[in-house]
Amino acid sequence: MQPKIKICGIKTVEEVTLLDDLDVSYAGVWHGVPQGKHNLDINQLVTLSTQPTRHLKFILVTMQHDMKLIANAVEKGCIEGIQLHGFHLPSLVGKIKSTFGEALKIYKVVHVKESKCVEDDLIDRYLDSGADVIILDSYQDTQNIGSTGISIEPEFVDDFLQKRNMAEKVMLAGGMEAHSMQRMVKKHPLYGFDIDSAARENGLIDANKVRELVSFMGE
């Protein structure tokens, strides 16, 4: 199966249309990301996620731990999945799964710093609690989580995927660019890639860059 591409931090209807036209799988919409550069309020989230699309689906990206806020966004938006981007606990994953069932995919981000995964001991329990996909992302500190543009060392990714034998449930994030993605795809049957900086030029979604990323996945 061809790896899926998710472009993170979508903020405008024009970006939604562009990604849909370019056959991107997922648009990441941020809500409940304090001081997040792409954060949306609930009205913006609803407006974007209810745009008619041919293929593009929406994933809510949040740092929130508050089940009420999460439930409000899931119920009001039109989203296919939720990406828990912070240091969330397995119990919250379980609560979300028991509340929304299989209709809502759960993408749990785990954080890698200096070739060590902070949540390494919890990954099996995230999966047991209902996480559908694990996203490997790099982080610097608690003020710089997500969209850092910093890559995870390829050797770490290789070791992680070989040790766990679960590449089809893993997305890679953190400083991804076309050639490193292509290299990974040739070695591992990944679920997909979570991309921010590599899809942008001067901070804006760039059609040529997105087109290149999508075309690389098809080769």
Partner: protein, 84 residues
Amino acid sequence: MSKLPDLKQYITEEFIPDGNNDHLADDLDLIASGVIDSLGVLKLVAFIENTYDITLEPEEIDPENLKSIDAVSKLVESRGISLA
């Protein structure tokens, strides 16, 4: 006197920069009071599992069980480990 001296020492060394744990009562809500953040909770889980040689069930890894020294004490003792 805390029933979890190792835990109190760990929290002091890991999360209290000046090392002053005078206010660290056993029933203090560590999360609400800002002593530990969400990353700190994950570190606390690892400490508990490594120190007491237990593996917590996913549903046990919940803020209610990790929010205070008392709560952690109950969680560990529920596994048949005496902390007295």
